[in-house]
C-alpha cells in the first residue's frame, strides 16, 4: 500500500514537471511540442472523424429541436434583406471594379490580385476559453500560419495552426488576436470660399464660376471652381480647378480637408461576449471626432499579416480618454462570427514573412 502511494506521488510529480516543461517549451515555440501535436493528431483524427459520423444524427436532432423556429425567422429575415440588397449589389460591384481598376492603374495592391483558397468550417473550439474554429484546408492548399481569413462580409480571423489538410483559425474576438487597422473617418463639413484680394474677410458660399468671370474683375483676384461628384456609397471627392487663362493646362489638386482621413490603430479581441476594441488611435485634431458607424479596414504594410483595405467592422461606441491618450473604439464586426460556414483564406504573406531563397 505504502509502495503504491509512493509510486503515485512520484507519478504526480513527474507529470506536473512534464507539464511545466511543456508549457515552457511551447511558449518558446519549440518544434518538439508542435511535433508532439502532429503525432497526436495522426492518432486522434481517425477517432474524431468516426465519432463525428456517429454523433451527427444526435447533433442534427438537437438543432432540429432547439433551433427550428430561429432558423425559420432567420430565413424570413434574410429573404427580405436579399430583396433589399439586390439592387445595391449591382451598383456596388461596378464601383468595386472601378476602384480596383484605378488601384491597378496606379500600381497599388488590390485584393483581386491575391489568390485565395475556399474552405469549409468543420469544427468549433471544444473549450470555452478560446475563440477558434477549424477549417478543412491546410498546408497542402498553400495555407500558412498568419494568413487572413474572410467571409463574404469581411475579416473573420487569421490562421494560427496549420496541418496537412486542416487549419485552425483564431477569430477576431479572441483576446489573443491583434491586427493593425485603419479607421476611415468621414471628412469634416467644410465650406470652400472664394476670396477676393479687396474683401478677403467675407466668406461666400460655393458658386460655380464661369471661366471668363474671374478675368473680368481685378486681375489679382483668385477664384476657384469646385466640382463635386456624388456616388451612392462612396465618399464624395472634390476636384478644385484653379481658374487659369485658356490655353494654360490646369493642375488638379484635391482639397486635403475634404478627403477621407485615415488613422491607424490596433484591433484586439475581448472574448465572445464583448466587442473587439481599437486602441492607439491618435488624438489629433485633424482627425476630428469619430462617429459610430465609421468603417474599420485593415492597414496593410510590410509587417502586417493582412493586405490593406479588408473590411473588419464599424465603430459601435467611442470611449474617450483623458489627456492626450486617444479614444478607444468598440467595433461591431461585419462578419457574423457565430454562424460561419464557408470562408476564404487569402494566400498572402507580408514581405517580412517570406523566406529568402
Amino acid at each position: 500500500m505504502a509502495v503504491a502511494q509512493s509510486t503515485r506521488r512520484r507519478a504526480i510529480i513527474l507529470l506536473v514537471l512534464t507539464s511545466i516543461i511543456l508549457i515552457t517549451l511551447d511558449l518558446q515555440n519549440s518544434s518538439a511540442t508542435s511535433g508532439l501535436r502532429s503525432v497526436f493528431g495522426v492518432i486522434f483524427r481517425p477517432v474524431e472523424s468516426t465519432m463525428r459520423v456517429v454523433t451527427r444524427p444526435i447533433s442534427n436532432a438537437w438543432f432540429g429541436i432547439f433551433n427550428y423556429n430561429d432558423v425559420l425567422d432567420e430565413n424570413e429575415r434574410l429573404r427580405e434583406k436579399v430583396a433589399q440588397q439586390e439592387g445595391a449589389t449591382v451598383a456596388a460591384a461596378a464601383s468595386v471594379r472601378l476602384a480596383q481598376e484605378l488601384l491597378a492603374l496606379n500600381g497599388l495592391p488590390t485584393l483581386a490580385g491575391i489568390n485565395a483558397v475556399t474552405a469549409q468550417v468543420i469544427g468549433d473550439s471544444p473549450t470555452n476559453f478560446s475563440q477558434t474554429i477549424e477549417i478543412n484546408q491546410g498546408s497542402e492548399s498553400g495555407i500558412r500560419v498568419g494568413m487572413p481569413v474572410l467571409n463574404a462580409a469581411g475579416l473573420v480571423g487569421k490562421i494560427t495552426k496549420v496541418y496537412g489538410d486542416r487549419s485552425v483559425v483564431m477569430l477576431i474576438t479572441d483576446p489573443d488576436f491583434a491586427l493593425s487597422i485603419k479607421v476611415v473617418n468621414s471628412p469634416r463639413q467644410t465650406t470652400t470660399t472664394t476670396i477676393a484680394k479687396g474683401n478677403a474677410a467675407v466668406p461666400s458660399p460655393v458658386v460655380p464660376i464661369e471661366p471668363d468671370a474671374s478675368l473680368e474683375g481685378d486681375a489679382s483676384t483668385t477664384t476657384t471652381t469646385t466640382t463635386t461628384t456624388t456616388i451612392a456609397g462612396f465618399t464624395p471627392s472634390v476636384t478644385t480647378l484653379p481658374a487659369t487663362p485658356s490655353g494654360v493646362s490646369s493642375i488638379t489638386v484635391p482639397l486635403a480637408s475634404d478627403l477621407a482621413i485615415r488613422e491607424t490603430g490596433v484591433i484586439e479581441g475581448r472574448g465572445p461576449s464583448r466587442q473587439p476594441t481599437v486602441r492607439f488611435i491618435s488624438n489629433a485634431v485633424r482627425f476630428g471626432d469619430i462617429q459610430a458607424g465609421v468603417p474599420i479596414v485593415t492597414a496593410g504594410g510590410s509587417r502586417s499579416l493582412s493586405p490593406p483595405d479588408i473590411l473588419v467592422g464599424t465603430v459601435s461606441r467611442v470611449v474617450e480618454r483623458l489627456g492626450s491618450a486617444g479614444p478607444v473604439l468598440e467595433i461591431e464586426p461585419v462578419a457574423d462570427l457565430t454562424n460561419l460556414s464557408f470562408l476564404r483564406v487569402l494566400l498572402y504573406q507580408p514581405i517580412t514573412e517570406k523566406a529568402t531563397p
Partner: protein
C-alpha cells in the same frame, strides 16, 4: 510478452484509450451542442468523477493525463490544461479525504462544485502564463452551465469511470 500484456491491460492504458473516445466526443458533439452558448466539458467531468471515486492521487494522475491529451488539440500552450485538470482531479479527490464512504448525492454535489472550480482553473492558468483576457464575468455563466451539464451526465460518467479505472489482475 507478459510484461507487454500487463501494460496493455493496465488501467492507465485503458484510461488513454477511453480518453481518446471522450476527447473525440468533446471535439465533435459537445463542441457543437452549446446550451446557452457554452460547451459542456466531458473531459473535465471524467477527471472529476475519477477523483471523487478514487481519491486525490488517482484523480490528479487522471487529470494530468487527460489534460495533456486535451492540450494537444487546443491552441493554448501544451501543459496548461494538464495542470488545470490535474488540480481539478485532486480537488475532487478531497471528497474521499473528508468522507470515506460518500453517498451518491455527496458525489453529485462534488461534481457540481468542482466543475465550477475546474472551469475557473483553466482561464486562471492562462492568465498566469500571460494569456489574459479570459478572466471576465462571463466565466461564472460558463462555470454554472458546465456544472449543470456535468450534473446531468455524471451518472453515465461514473459507470464509465469505474470500469476504466478498475484494477484487474491479468490471468494467463
Amino acid at each position: 510478452m507478459i510484461r507487454f500484456l500487463t501494460i496493455m491491460s493496465s488501467r492507465w492504458t485503458r484510461l488513454v484509450l477511453v480518453m481518446l473516445i471522450v476527447l473525440s466526443l468533446q471535439t465533435t458533439l459537445f463542441a457543437e451542442l452549446r446550451p446557452f452558448g457554452v460547451a459542456a466539458q466531458v473531459v473535465l467531468l471524467f477527471v472529476i468523477v475519477s477523483g471523487s471515486i478514487n481519491g486525490v492521487a488517482i484523480g490528479s494522475i487522471t487529470g494530468l493525463i487527460a489534460g495533456l491529451m486535451y492540450d494537444f488539440i487546443l491552441p493554448t500552450p501544451v501543459g496548461l490544461a494538464s495542470l488545470a485538470m490535474g488540480l481539478a482531479g485532486a480537488t475532487a479527490g478531497l471528497l474521499l479525504y473528508f468522507f470515506h464512504e460518500p453517498t451518491w448525492w455527496m458525489r453529485l454535489i462534488t461534481v457540481a462544485i468542482v466543475s465550477i472550480l475546474g472551469e475557473i482553473y483553466f482561464p486562471l492558468a492562462q492568465a498566469i502564463v500571460g494569456f489574459d483576457g479570459w478572466l471576465q464575468p462571463r466565466i461564472f455563466k460558463v462555470a454554472i452551465v458546465v456544472a449543470a451539464c456535468n450534473l446531468i451526465l455524471a451518472p453515465l460518467a461514473i459507470v464509465v469511470c469505474r470500469w476504466t479505472l478498475a484494477e484487474r489482475k491479468l490471468s494467463i
